[in-house]
């Protein structure tokens, strides 16, 4: 599978994602420069974490308007896989590919730690290798991860099973203590209606190797590989 990682000015997790895809997942991967267009052979676009444009104005706002994003939006609307991690999630909501928005953490502070997530939907390209209600552990590191959406849209997210991950405590409950940033209903990751676009604040790409202490991130990417293969692999793609 061909992964493409968009490098925005100020991306910081582009190299982590690259290492993860190439050395851990052992799939093919290329960097995509934000000023260029999206090459045809890419099967999955990753919008990496970081502080693109220094988070100036609003996190993700300026990046949502760079040249490559026009292609990424078309690619997503045609059914291509797009994953936004942390700042990538912020770019996805700013570009309109995902609903809602991400505002400053309720505590007004950057938060960096490992959190537990409950898998809420397994019927997606990103979670099919996980069990429903399974608890996984991933690192977070962000200052603006507080997911906000209007009540009406929240209902739609729920009824369409677009909520993929919630922050939970050790008992697997989405309590307010387990909520690291004030996100509405402890939401940590969502997908679009068609389930081909994923946005999440936690970092699966930092959690794929035993030596780093956490490995659950791998399951998310294995899900994508499985889904892609089931769709016909190489014959799928080419949007």
């Amino acid at each position: 599978m061909n992964f493409g990682i968009v490098v925005f000015p100020g991306s910081t997790c582009d190299r982590d994602a690259f290492h993860f895809i190439k050395d851990v997942l052992q799939e093919s991967v290329t960097y995509l420069w934000y000023k260029d267009s999206l090459p045809k052979e890419i099967d999955c676009v990753i919008l990496p974490g970081g502080f693109s444009y220094g988070d100036y104005l609003r996190p993700g706002a300026i990046s949502a308007h760079v040249p490559i994003m026009e292609d990424v939006i078309k690619f997503a609307n045609n059914g291509g896989y797009v994953i936004g991690i942390c700042n990538g999630f912020q770019i996805l909501v700013e570009s309109g590919l995902l609903p809602g928005t991400l505002i400053q953490n309720k505590q007004l502070k950057f938060v960096s730690k490992s959190v537990y997530l409950r898998v809420e939907t397994t019927d997606t390209p990103f979670t099919n290798q996980l069990n429903k209600k399974e608890s996984i552990c991933l690192p977070i590191a962000h200052g603006d991860g507080n997911y906000y959406i209007s009540q009406d849209e929240l209902k739609q997210l729920e009824s369409n099973n677009q909520i993929l991950f919630r922050y939970v405590d050790r008992n697997n409950e989405p309590t307010s203590n387990a909520n690291p940033n004030g996100s509405i209903q402890n939401i940590a990751g969502i997908s679009n209606l068609d389930k081909n676009v994923l946005g999440m604040m936690p970092h699966p790409e930092r959690a794929g190797e035993k030596i780093l202490g956490l490995e659950d991130g791998l399951k998310i990417f294995k899900s994508i590989l499985k889904h892609w293969n089931e769709q016909g692999g190489d014959k799928f793609g080419s949007y």
Binding site: L57, I62, I103, Y148, I149, G182
Partner: protein
């Protein structure tokens, strides 16, 4: 030459943790007359153009496409003519 001053505020109902925190701090400093605090943005643009009507449209486009997030923010702006140097 014009200057646009754009006031960006959070929509009512949207959580404003910063405003809340500031209110609490002010109370703890005995500024008890403060009932409510809202924190917004003030964006000032210097514009190289002299057609007010045209500029109004442009500033609105800028606000809608980049400068504000319609999910949580609303805005108001003022255009003031200024002397060019």
């Amino acid at each position: 030459m014009f200057r646009a001053q754009i006031k960006v505020n959070l929509k009512t109902g949207v959580l404003d943790p910063q405003g809340e925190a500031i209110k609490d701090s002010l109370h703890s400093m005995n500024f008890n007359e403060v009932n409510d605090v809202k924190v917004g943005k003030l964006i000032t643009l210097s514009l190289e153009d002299n057609d007010r009507e045209q500029l109004e449209k442009r500033v609105e486009q800028m606000c809608e496409r980049l400068l504000t997030n319609p999910v949580i923010e609303n805005y108001q702006y003022e255009l003031v003519e200024v002397m060019s140097k």
